[in-house]
Symmetry: C2
Subunit: 210 residues, 2 copies
DNA sequence: TCCTGTAAGTGAATACCATTAACTTAATGA
DNA sequence: TCATTAAGTTAATGGTATTCACTTACAGGA
């Protein structure tokens, strides 16, 4: 069997991303081989190379897909939120850290691992101008939230870009440390400590109210 | 040549950590093979396995060594600092992020990569009770600094453990995002943005002064 | 309808690594 | 002196990403 007929073709490109996502999320990227993915898709490993130049590229595709899903999820959640800017910021932060700790392998792939980042750099170096990092939009969401807070009298006088990046740093940092068990995790569960970091940050924000 | 005589022996264990550290710091862990390290040391790759059960263990040794150097560095810097607790916290944060951005590959190895963390877990799982994470001491340093700030009237009413973890989250998060170019890095240099995150955090702390 | 060039796979190499095996010689100590 | 152990070596082994050479299906024109 060398080439399947039209009626028994499978959409390798799409299915590869789906399968890789599932396997990566289950086991982490290092524990998944191209053969594993191919087996899941229903083809041999070399077939994947017709659609992705290497494993890193497949990693990046899963990474991008993860962001699209995250944003869809956030957009849906945002619509049901109230209109209190402070509370929105707080719930957004808590949602972020919960998402991360509930999907640690996906979070690693999207925010921590070097592979997708390197691949993106390679694309840019190759003159691929449209190689945009879909992850950058996280920051814009956050900035909107910060601006709303400032309109409500919080964080007066702070540069909103700097504030947004700082807030993102807290949530990302807390999650990253938790995933490596860096912190006072001997006794308490990671979820609690990470949530507490968000609450601590919000307590500081609260004291900036005029 | 099968085994060197006593007078032409080399201290493989020590030199392996040194060489590995240098190579890892130069190229990043993935780009360094056991052969590269052995070549640097002056032996063959399998000889390394007499002293380290696998590459991960060697990684962990370099990781631990990095922390020892970081703490020595911090202790030296601390001695020259003034007695203003707020300023100490600020300068400590700035020193941390500068260290990270000046030694990105070392920082990756110490705080971001999964390898050393997994190795530590393996040790613990094997009942190795003294497998203590030397990285945990970072947090204690920070807590001391936070407590001093509270004595000076800042951060009143906040749990010092939570505050310390939150502060660490900011600096680690900012550095981690910067290393993946996540943030408004199109125009501005990473150093500036990361430092700005520290300053933003400190601005929030300043407003808690009674 | 037949022919030809291209597309989409396949199985068999290749190359690189971490790690293990089998073996050789130096040191040690009775 | 000699047996045992220690410290290396070279030569496998096994796994994995990636490339190669080849086969067959399809699409489009003669």
């Amino acid at each position: 069997m060398v080439r399947p007929r039209k009626d028994e073709r499978i959409d390798i490109k799409t299915r590869a991303v789906e399968s890789a996502a599932r396997l990566f999320v289950e086991r982490g990227t290092d524990a998944v081989t191209m053969q594993d993915i191919a087996a899941e898709v229903g083809c041999r490993a070399p077939a994947l190379y017709r659609y992705f130049p290497n494993k890193e590229a497949l990693l990046l595709a899963v990474h991008d897909d993860g962001f699209r899903r995250l944003y869809a999820h956030k957009a849906a959640a945002g619509r049901t939120a109230g209109d209190d800017a402070y509370e929105r910021l707080r719930l957004g932060g808590l949602a972020y850290v919960r998402f991360a700790l509930e999907n640690p392998n996906l979070y690693e792939l999207m925010f921590i691992e070097r592979g997708p980042f390197l691949r993106l750099n390679a694309l840019r170096a190759a003159g691929n101008a449209e190689a945009e990092d879909i992850g950058q939009r996280s920051l814009e969401f956050l900035k909107t939230s910060i601006l709303a807070c400032q309109k409500s009298g919080y964080l007066e006088g702070l540069d909103p870009d700097a504030a947004a990046f700082t807030f993102w740093s807290v949530v990302h940092g807390a999650v990253s440390l938790a995933l490596r068990r860096r912190g006072p995790f001997h006794a308490v569960e990671p979820e609690r400590i990470v949530a507490q970091a968000v609450e601590t940050m919000m307590a500081l924000v609260a004291r900036t109210s005029r």
